[in-house]
Symmetry: C2
Subunit: 343 residues, 2 copies
């Protein structure tokens, strides 16, 4: 069994229904020209508005939500509008991140801002944020009680605060050379961990459970997920990732490998690294120099150690919910994919 | 009685409670540095984070919501979290608009993006959007039923779609010379009308009524409000408005006066106007030339005629809700301020 099998299994079970839910949530272009940008970003249309079926992304968040819901004894049907909502919220944040990071590519395609400009890409993200919230409300039409929908919605919006708080911190890190690994992990817990933790908790709440124990599961695996993301951002396979692995270095992203490398490099090398990261821009040669220093520092393995530690915390949290009667097997398999993935 | 008296009356009645609600909704800086940007924008802090009490804006939207709620027989207390939400949603859209329009000033102060840069201003708007949604949920803790809260929330998120759809259209108009007044009015119904209409409808829904008849009231006055805004954007008093009245002309904003002037100018003058608006930028002399053409075209009065027509529609819609037992007097007074204002 390959490690991405649980993701394929979730896609087979939930993919078609999730697709329907997403398409019900997102208006088409007849309602307004802005929806071309949204549909392009989601892979449903070319930039000229022609129907397309581009790679939709991994959809980890909605699948986690649905499996968490089932693990807590709920029906996935009722969770579908929330699953669509977390996927759309994630995509809103990607559209805005791409503007902020000036990323030219996402999932092998040009980013929204690079085609339509920043101002309209801001609008595309904003409308997707509103669509996500509207979608979530439909849980109450699918057999989830108003009370459970309401409690889950609060978690949804709060996870969005944390996501944006984390994104804010991440950007402030770009102009600092002295970010500590601890500060980094706090940022990651917001930027990526919060929404992943919320997905797992929301699933349980929609099933009528108190979700706190589920949140602990999501938070640990969310942290592991982001660390692996950082490692892939430097050492991943660009053909598999759909973007250049030079982007993170070129944009002076203070990812965990960089922060760990700083700790273990000689004073001379650290000064060299700091100077390169502190400069306004990095040439191709600079990127190669940085990559060589990161390779030699052992930062890759040390970063993966952090990911494994977070994953172990997650396994312990899974044991807690299992004791409370949760059917954790499919959820556990998918969570492990977060740590052992290649894209 | 001056025309802004109803606004002062609403501020006296609801201002302190709205302030408390807003301050409960917005986290402080101890939670994250991003909240300094939000609190600065709201006028609660200087850019260095020192407590301030800057002009908070007119707060028309929350007061309309609360008066609409009372007009429909509801208690304003229950509507306060929703009132805070519409004010915060409005402010999220202002932060993003200012980035898109490159506006240097808002309410006599430097805009968020001009101090912290575009990337972080995107984050500040995004977090405010999430805070607004979270705030709305608290209606259910203030005596509004879960069902009414849920229905009103759907209206809230849908008004946000329309607001962003309108903003998208508005930006596309900047690069076109041939926008018709009809296209303009459709844009305005989204960009400004939708949230104002939603405020009036949400108030009624929170009071347990079917809000459609209230929405018609809000839509008509919302349109009137935006037209007056456009007129003030060219002919307002900068000292009262808190921003330059050259901004709209300089940024080639296709506001209603410009579109109406195009219709009545001689072919030669229209070509001149189109050339000036089609250029990449407009000099001080260009701004003066355009202003003179607008003055002479009679566009100011014709735009105000459109505003008055919309206001008359609004009065008719008010008569409908009055027939259904609504206590419309305070709501009517405030709505009239939207049309007869100077800032």
């Amino acid at each position: 069994m390959t490690l991405s099998d649980p993701l394929s299994a979730a896609a087979t079970r939930f993919g078609p229904a999730l697709d329907r839910e997403l398409r019900e949530a997102v208006p088409d272009e007849s309602r307004g020209a802005i929806y071309r940008l949204v549909r392009y970003h989601l892979g449903w249309a070319t930039q000229n508005g022609v129907v397309a079926r581009a790679e939709p992304g991994k959809r980890l968040r909605p699948y986690l939500l649905l499996l968490a819901c089932e693990s807590a004894g709920g029906r996935a049907d009722g969770g579908l509008p929330a699953a669509a909502a977390v996927e759309l919220l994630h995509n809103f944040s990607l559209i805005h991140d791409d503007i902020q990071d000036r990323s030219p590519q996402r999932r092998h395609r040009a980013t929204v801002w690079s085609i339509w400009g920043e101002a309209q890409a801001i609008n595309a993200g904003d409308v997707l944020h509103a669509i996500a919230s509207r979608s979530f409300l439909r849980c109450a039409e699918r057999g989830v009680s108003l009370g459970a929908t309401h409690r889950a919605l609060a978690l949804f919006h709060e996870s969005c605060y944390r996501l944006v708080e984390g994104q804010y911190l991440d950007l402030t890190f770009e102009s600092r050379v002295d970010v500590s690994p601890a500060e980094y992990l706090a940022m990651v817990d917001g930027k990526t961990g919060a929404l992943i933790a919320a997905c797992v908790e929301i699933g349980a709440v929609l099933a009528g459970r108190d979700g706190a124990a589920w949140r602990a599961v999501g938070r640990a695996f969310g942290r592991a997920f982001q660390i692996v993301d950082d490692v892939l951002g430097v050492w991943g396979d660009p053909a598999v990732l759909g973007k250049s692995v030079d982007d993170d270095i070129r944009s002076a992203k203070k990812s965990l490998p960089v922060l760990l490398a700083r700790e273990s490099l000689s004073a001379t090398d650290r000064t060299c690294l700091d100077t390169l990261y502190g400069a306004d821009r990095r040439s191709d040669d600079d990127v190669e120099t940085i990559r060589r220093m990161l390779d030699q520092s052992g930062a890759r393995e040390r970063a993966l150690d952090h990911a494994r530690a977070a994953a172990m915390e997650g396994e312990a949290a899974l044991a807690v919910i299992q004791e409370r009667g949760a059917a954790v097997a499919p959820l556990t398999s998918l969570l492990r994919v977060l740590v052992e993935r290649h894209r």
